[in-house]
Structure formats: C-alpha cells, structure tokens
Amino acid sequence: MKHSRRDFLKLGFITLAGVTLPLSAFELLTPEALATIKKGNGKRWAFVLDTTKCIGCGMCVKACKLENEIPFEANVSRTWVERYVELKNGEVLIDSPKEGRYGYIKNDPQGRNIKEEDIAKGFFVCKLCNQCEKPSCVQVCPVGATYKTPDGVILIDRKWCIGCGYCIQNCPYGARFFHPVYNTAEKCTFCYHRITKGMNSACVDACAFGARKIGNINDPNSEVHRIVNTERVMVLKPEYGNKPMVFYVGHDSIVR
C-alpha cells in the first residue's frame, strides 16, 4: 500500500481534529457550566447562627450525626461546636472536644481548670459548611465529583469521588473530611434531602434555643433574609473570597 504526501497530511489532520474535538467537549461540561445552564428558581439557601443564643449543649451535633449517618463515635462531624474562653490576662482558649457532641458541662477549656473570676468572656460558636458562593472545593475537584446546585448547596457524588483530598485541603473552614464508611469526601449539605422537601435541617430542629436558622435568603418573608438584611452579621474568613453563606450574629474577633 502506497500513500502520497497528500494522503498522509489529510489523514494526519483528520486524526488531529478527531482527538482535539472530544477534548474540547470535555471542557464545556464542567459542573459550574452545567449549573448555569440549568435555570435556578432564584432560591438560595443560607444559614444564620446566633452565637448569643448558643449554650453549647451539642444537641445539633448529635442530631446531625444521626440524621446523616456519620458514625457517632467517629472523630469527624458535618457540624461542630467550638468553645471560646478569653481570660482577663488576654489569653484565649479554644477547644471543641469530640466536636462538642456530648455538650459542654464543665468549665475546662483545653482540659485546664479555669477559675470563673479569671474569665473575661466566653461563648460558643457552631460551625458547618458555609455553602460558599465561590466554593474553592468545587474549583479544585479533579473529576467534578463535587458541585454546586442551582439553589446554592454544595454536594458530593459519593459514587464518583476518587478520594484525593484536594477539596479538603482547599476548604479554609475545615468543613470537609473523609467519610469513615464510604471513604469519600464528606461535608454538611444543610440537610439537602430535608430542605428540598420543606423541612428544616436536622440541627435546626434539634436546637432548643433558636440559635440555628435555615432559609431562602432571596425570599423577603424568610427569617434568614430579615436577619441578614436588618441586623449586623458577619461571615467567617471573608479574606479568602469564597463568599460564605452562613451568617453569624454576635461574632467576635477571637473566633477562628
């Protein structure tokens, strides 16, 4: 069989085009692109945490672990409670033993015995995934296994995650971890399976003090909308540019 130079060039170009076209098709189908193609209904889930109301009982952590099947004894959690104690000498003690799942019943920050008269101020801060508007975890997933839904919640596909841990490294808030049973990246979803059916997140229902609130921030009638738009609220680590969607009432500069 003989090939002329023309045939060779022709075949070469066809092969090149055949290889390049599917590659460019891949790029079009990023999760972000897909999410913008799908029209959202203007809904945007957001969370409000009123730290002035939290008493550190840990019921939210318990409820979350049970609802979302995170093994109760495993030292990871989708939500957790941190304790902040500032002493009169300026020292700051922070801890979150067992994610606060058993509640704070003793005055023993970081295992130390602290006299009550030495304490300048103390409070609890609940943490969970911030469902960022610009999530760095979604940006860095090499296989697109984690993605943002049109209503703003970041989800993980347990069947597609390869478990490289890049998203965990890129979350400034430490919200992500490996699921002890499924061995894939795991984090809070605002209880997406509940909120999309008209229910509250499990932690919101478990909080007896109204410290946790979930709602559609674009709905003028929602409490979340009212608080974020009329009260003084703060988000965690705004300097990273992730635009978190969890707003804190009663925030303090010692909060990490």
């Binding site: 891949f26 790029e27 189908l29 990023t30 999760p31 972000e32 099947e69 093994p71 109760f72 004894e73 495993a74 030292n75 990871v76 959690s77 957790w80 941190e82 700051v92 922070i94 801890d95 979150s96 067992k98 994610e99 970081q110 943490k127 760095s136 940006q139 860095v140 997933c141 090499p142 296989v143 697109g144 296994a145 597609w160 995650c161 390869i162 478990g163 490289c164 841990g165 890049y166 965990i168 490294q169 890129n170 979350c171 400034p172 808030y173 430490g174 919200a175 992500r176 971890f177 490996f178 002890p180 049973v181 061995n183 894939t184 990273y240 990490r256």
Partner: protein
C-alpha cells in the same frame, strides 16, 4: 454503624486548637509524588542537554538518563494512584471527566503527553540497535525486538540521519513539556489558598528548579554506582559536566527557596505568627540543617571547589537527593502541620510497621516499594535496551 478510626487519625497528633475535621490528609506519598516527578524532569533535562544543546561531554550518560527518566515516569504517579487515593479503582475518572479548573485534572493530559514524547524519543534513539537485535537474536527475544521495530527495518545512512533529527526535535519539545509537568505539580500546592505555607506564585518555579537539581543528582549518583557495580571506568568529563549543571541549577533553586521564606516573613500577614513557629521551631532542623545546610550549602561548596573528583561528586549528589526529599517533606507535611484555625498544630507520625490496610498503604512499606521500583525498572529496561553502551554495540 461502628467505626474504629477515621482516615488520617492513625498518624495525626493534634495540639491546642485544631478544627475537629482536620488531620494530616496528605501524607508521605504526597511528598514522594513530586519527588519522583522531579527526578523525571531532571533526568530528561540532562539527556536533552546533549541531544539539543550538544554538550558532548554528556554523551556517555545521555541514553542512560533518558531511559532512567522513563523508568521514573512510570513510577511517578503511583504514590497517588496506588496508595494515596481512598478510591484507587476510580483513578481513571481523571481521564473520563477531567475538571480543568483543578490543577490535578491536568495530570492525565500532561503525564500521557510527556510519556509519549519520552517513549518515542527512546524508540528513535535505539532504533538501529533494535533492528540489529531483531535480525540476529533467536527465540522469544527475537519476537520482542521484532515487535519493537514496529515494522521499520530501514537503517540506511539516510534513515539514521532522519532518526537523529527526530530525536533532536523530541528532546527539544520535551524540555517545555518537562517544565510544564513539574510546574503543574508545583501549582497543585501553590494554588491552595487555605494553606499559608503553600500559597505562593513562586511554588511552581521552586518545584521546577529543585526538580532539575534532584534529577541531575540522581543521574550522577546512579551512574557512579552502576559503573562501580559493572567494574567499568567512570567518565570523569561526563561526571564533571553533570556536577557543573547541578551546581548552577542549585544556585537558582536555593535563591528561590530563600526568597519564598523571606517574603512570607517580610509581609508577615496574619498567618505568619504561627507559620514562623513552623519554620523556625518545629521544622527548623529539617529546613535549616537538612534541606539547606547538608542538602544545599555543603554540596554546593563541594561542587564549586576546583578539580571535582568522583568521590566528591558522589557525596554531593547523595546529599542533594536527601536535601530535595526533605524539601518535599517540609513543604507537604510542614504546610499541613499548622491548623487552618491558626491556633493549633498537627504532627505527622508515619506508620512504620503495618497492622492494617491503612497503615500498609500509607506506611513505610509502600514508601520503600515506591523508591526501589525505579531502579528495578531501570535494571529491567537495561536487559532490553542497554543504557551504558553505544548504539549497536550489542549486549
């Protein structure tokens, strides 16, 4: 559901305040991954210095470094794919649905491109030898060589001349490819905004320079050992030339690494308070004594002193190999040793004796396997394509 431990818990010690979900998730394998990738880039650059830039003194090691870079290239992704991923069976998802906003997604494309370049260059470099073997050998080896000719038996003067041009071309495009390969590995770390020690645009360049340094050092190291083992004479001109390349690249690497830490300290952003305790206290011995003192300054002095001897070249290359490994370790483990809360520390204890699957995958046994395999592959390739003999000299 009951569970004994969560991923990362077995080798992480936590101090003061760390977020509950924080553990050392990127372990020793993530230090070995850029280490091996760097060795690939360095070995390739060395062979290209002969093929492209005509550094004649490097001729005796040009083929060896090319084949070695291929052996290393096969092993480079293995720490990630075999041992690090919690779902290794899904590693091909990176090829199926690459998400190109992620630095890791480039992995598939960059690696396979580079692999193809190196493989084709090797084929051209050995084509004459392969054809000769296919004509003269008997039995199974004859079949292997016949397959390797890919049906091309033309070894006329003209054809060999074309081969040489092809080699030169491939070696030339291989240089930017090698730079891209390692620059991207640096970017995997340099783009992580939530880890203060990693987040710098210098990272890709730092990784690239230390990559070249480590690769050249490995070639010197292995070349000298191989020659001693085979009781052959060591080419002193080639060794000196490699030593020179090593020393010059070390100056650049060292400058960049210094600049990185100086600029972190000078800007002294809010993470510096804890980052400085990592650099000047917890990792001080690792960084200043091992990575820079023994791994950079001492070998640089040894290499720049006039009249480089084989022994001095050997000692400096061994020290450089240790130093660059420490650099990878300090970046990967050091970066994760400070909590993202900036209020606590984590300490990594590498599992030594495996007692379950997790400590086997993430422990010393896997490390030894990964670091020994490139030499095994080199030995294996040498059976088929002799690395230290001139083309057509037979085996």
């Amino acid at each position: 559901m009951t569970i004994e431990h969560v991923h990362g818990e077995l080798w992480t010690l936590k101090e003061l305040f760390t977020y509950p979900n924080e553990f050392i998730y990127w372990t020793v394998h993530i230090a070995i991954y850029p280490y091996l990738t760097g060795l690939v880039a360095g070995a390739f650059v060395l062979s290209s210095l002969y093929h492209v830039f005509g550094k004649q003194e490097l001729k005796p090691v040009a083929k060896f470094s090319l084949i070695f870079s291929f052996a290393l290239l096969i092993m480079a992704p293995q720490p990630l794919l075999l041992f690090h991923l919690t779902q290794p069976q899904r590693s091909f998802n990176v090829f199926f649905t690459p998400h190109f906003y992620s630095a890791i997604a480039a992995f598939g494309v960059v690696f396979s491109t580079y692999m193809a370049i190196v493989a084709v260059e090797i084929w051209f470099a050995y084509r004459k030898f392969i054809v000769e073997q296919a004509m003269t050998r008997k039995g199974i080896m004859r079949l292997i060589y016949k397959a390797m000719t890919l049906g091309s038996y033309d070894v006329s003067e003209k054809a060999l001349h074309t081969d040489e041009r092809a080699i030169k071309f491939l070696a030339a495009i291989g240089i930017p490819a090698a730079c891209f390969l390692h620059g991207y590995v640096g970017f995997i770390f340099g783009s992580v905004k939530s880890v203060a020690f990693w987040f710098t645009p210098l990272m890709p360049v730092i990784f690239l320079m230390s990559a070249i340094v480590s690769g050249v050092a490995l070639c010197i190291f292995t070349y000298i050992i191989a020659m001693k083992l085979m009781k052959r004479e060591i080419d002193i001109a080639a060794t000196r030339s490699m030593g020179q390349v090593l020393a010059w690249f070390m100056i650049v690497a060292f400058t960049l690494e210094l600049l990185d830490i100086v600029s972190h300290g000078y800007a002294a952003k809010k993470d510096w308070e804890i980052l400085s305790t990592i650099i000047f206290d917890r990792f001080a011995f690792n960084i200043f004594a091992l990575q820079w003192g023994l791994g950079m300054v001492v070998p640089m002095i040894l290499l720049f002193l006039p009249g480089l001897t084989i022994r001095r070249a050997f000692i400096s290359s061994a020290l450089v190999l240790m130093g660059v490994f420490m650099m990878r370790w300090n970046v990967v483990i050091g970066g994760q040793s400070m909590s993202k809360s900036l209020a606590g520390y984590m300490t990594y204890k590498m599992p030594v004796i495996p007692y379950n699957i997790e400590t086997f995958r993430e422990g010393l046994v896997a490390v030894i396997f990964l670091l020994v395999m490139p030499f095994v592959l080199l030995w294996l390739f040498d059976r088929i394509l002799p690395v230290f003999k001139n083309q057509g000299a037979g085996h």
